[in-house]
């Protein structure tokens, strides 16, 4: 009967199911192919997978839809990994921002190719070849031109107004896509008939989304810049600890359980069911005879 199924460890695949824009695979006039690169995630500071389009002209982020109990049928094969990868365009400025932010602490103007450098993630310098990278640096940094050389210095003020614009554009997108942004809405498929969300709900939601792309410090600063008060809601993950209230009175039992303590005192704990018993418990047994009914003395088939 049903035995315990053991999950084999996830094996390495050499193929994935991916949704990507045509532009990702468009290798227009360059010899290079689009490639996955590992870069520092600006929000978590951890290694994260991105993709650079052919010729490093466009940055893409990689997100995986992953749920338990999914597999793919691809052509005539089965793929155990039921993930669906999304490769979507991303503003490279987000990834350069931490480097500029860090260099900005020194307060000096520096050439950008000296700022965006990382021994751990050498691929980060390729971000500078993206089409809009250099042209959009002025959103987050002051620029100085000396001769033919350009120097940059991080500006918190510029960054904040840039991020604010990002939030506002996200709000527009959220409204357009009818995303449920209110608190307490747990299901994405649950759609309210009337949109009763306040502007603040949208702003807060958009701020949360943008915070996926910036450091925690910047996220907090942005919240202030948007003039949104910090929420002081209790953490969801940890239930409030139940502590007995202290009082001066002597402790007394609320109920007297002693009178029931007689024979039943050493009641056995419920036994753990075997796999077979569990399977049986799940089965639909309506209209079936019990095993014992086959052994009990026969009842006369008379009825009246």
């Amino acid at each position: 009967m049903a035995s315990m199924k053991k999950r084999a460890p996830r094996e390495q695949n050499d193929s994935w199911v991916v949704i990507a824009a045509d532009s990702v695979v468009d290798t227009h006039e360059t010899d290079s192919e689009p490639a996955f690169v590992r870069l520092r995630n600006p929000s978590t500071d951890a290694t994260c997978l991105y993709m650079l389009g052919a010729g490093d002209v466009q940055l893409y982020e990689v997100k995986a839809f992953e749920e338990d109990f999914h597999s793919w049928f691809v052509g005539q094969t089965v793929q155990r990994d039921g993930r669906l990868l999304f490769i979507t365009p991303m503003d490279p400025l987000y990834l350069m921002l931490p480097y500029l932010n860090k260099a900005g602490k020194e307060g000096k103007f520096q050439p950008v190719d000296q700022i965006v450098m990382d021994e751990e993630f050498p691929a980060c310098s390729r971000l500078l070849s993206c089409t809009h990278s250099l042209a959009s640096l002025h959103h987050i940094a002051e620029e100085k031109e000396v001769g033919s050389l350009k120097f940059h210095r991080y500006s918190q003020e510029k960054t904040m107004s840039w991020l604010k614009k990002k939030v506002e554009r996200t709000v527009v997108a959220l409204r357009k896509k009818n995303i449920s942004v209110g608190e307490g809405v747990k299901s994405t498929t649950y759609v309210r008939v009337k949109s009763e969300y306040q502007e603040e709900d949208y702003l807060r939601y958009a701020h949360g989304l943008i915070s996926e792309y910036i450091s925690e410090d910047l996220s907090k600063a942005l919240l202030k810049h948007l003039q949104l008060p910090e929420l002081t809601s209790p953490k969801e993950t940890e239930p409030p600890s139940k502590k007995r209230k202290l009082s001066d009175k002597p402790v007394e039992a609320g109920d007297d359980y002693t009178k029931f303590n007689s024979v039943d005192f050493s009641r056995k704990p419920p036994k753990k069911m075997t796999a077979a018993q569990k399977t049986l418990a799940k089965a639909d047994k309506t209209g079936m005879k019990t095993m014992s009914s086959f052994f009990s003395p026969k009842v006369k088939a008379e009825k009246k």
Binding site: R7, T44, E66, D284
Partner: protein
């Protein structure tokens, strides 16, 4: 008996029926219910009803219909022929429950067992007879499960009909014998000429009786086990014979209503293990623990990757 309607799509349940004899619409009738193919791991289960005017009970006896199990296949075919020829007073109807119907019923999220399926099919056929204008007064049924409970259930559903549920009714009442012959003949024919929907190359049709303890059936099941898909729809996946073979020989498949034990299952269900409350609650020793992914992403089950 034209099996065409079933054979065009043998993955679903299908009803076949004779013409309703005119006398059955005016005279009080009796009806027998029996089934064929309850136990086999292969092929459909067939439910049959047979009905005739109460006054024709003797004519039915004269046809020498008897419990289908006591007859050889040729005799059954012969008797069915006679029943079909007596269409001026005998009518029949069949419900063929494909093996696929049985599998999907018994293995669905809310389990629907064979007894319940049987009862509902029988009820459906009685209702069909009533809807067709047959003047039913007596119904005889070979029991499935406890006879008294079944009888009570049927009497409640059909208060104007005298319902008799008996074990071995197929040898007690000729009308039930007749129903059992119809069902058995239909099942034999369907199994013999099974159209495999699957592209299995050369299918060898030597699968024996289809009962789990038949060595031929077992050998066939071993031979046609596909590691990914298991079996063609001809096989009842819900039978433990099939399940055991798939568990041991085929690829393991996990469904989200499979039961799992222990820490991992709890984690999957987003419960916290008891232990986590007891361990030092420092938190933040993991770099990612402070970062909570935005609900836009978590609600959509989207996550970043560090490797492919």
């Amino acid at each position: 008996m034209d099996l065409g309607p079933f054979e065009t799509d043998n993955s679903v349940s299908c009803r076949l029926a004779s013409q309703i004899p005119d006398v059955c619409k005016v005279e009080d009738c009796c009806l027998g219910i029996d089934e064929a193919g309850r136990g086999p791991v292969l092929g459909p289960m067939v439910y049959g009803i047979c009905f005739c005017p109460v006054s024709n009970k003797k004519d039915l006896k004269d046809l020498k219909v008897a419990d289908s199990k006591t007859l050889r296949e040729a005799e059954r075919e012969d008797l069915f022929q006679k029943l079909d020829e007596a269409s001026d007073f005998v009518g029949w109807a069949l419900q063929i429950l494909s093996p696929n119907t049985i599998s999907t019923s018994m293995l669905q999220r809310t389990k629907y067992n064979l007894n319940a399926l049987s009862h509902d099919t029988a009820i459906g056929l009685v209702q069909y007879a009533l809807d067709s204008g047959v003047q039913l007064k007596e119904v005889y049924v070979d029991t499935v499960g406890p006879a008294e409970k079944y009888e009570e259930k049927l009497s409640k559903l059909f208060p104007d009909i005298e319902v008799t549920v008996r074990p071995k009714a197929d040898s007690l009442f000729p009308i039930v014998s007749a129903a059992s012959i119809c069902a058995k003949v239909a099942r034999d024919r369907v199994v013999k000429g099974w159209n495999f929907a699957e592209d299995m190359g050369e299918v060898d049709a030597d699968y024996g009786s289809g009962y789990p303890n038949d060595p031929k059936t077992k050998a066939w099941l071993l031979k046609f086990l596909d590691p990914v898909f298991g079996y063609p729809q001809f096989v009842r996946f819900s039978w433990s014979t099939a399940q055991t073979l798939m568990d041991s020989k085929a690829v393991t498949v996990h469904w989200d209503d499979d039961e799992e034990d222990g820490e991992k299952a709890a984690q999957r269900q987003h419960n916290r293990s008891m232990l986590s409350f007891l361990s030092a609650s420092t938190g933040g020793n993991d770099q990612n623990s402070t970062h909570q992914t935005h609900r836009f992403l978590t609600e959509r089950r989207l996550k970043s990757l560090s490797t492919l």
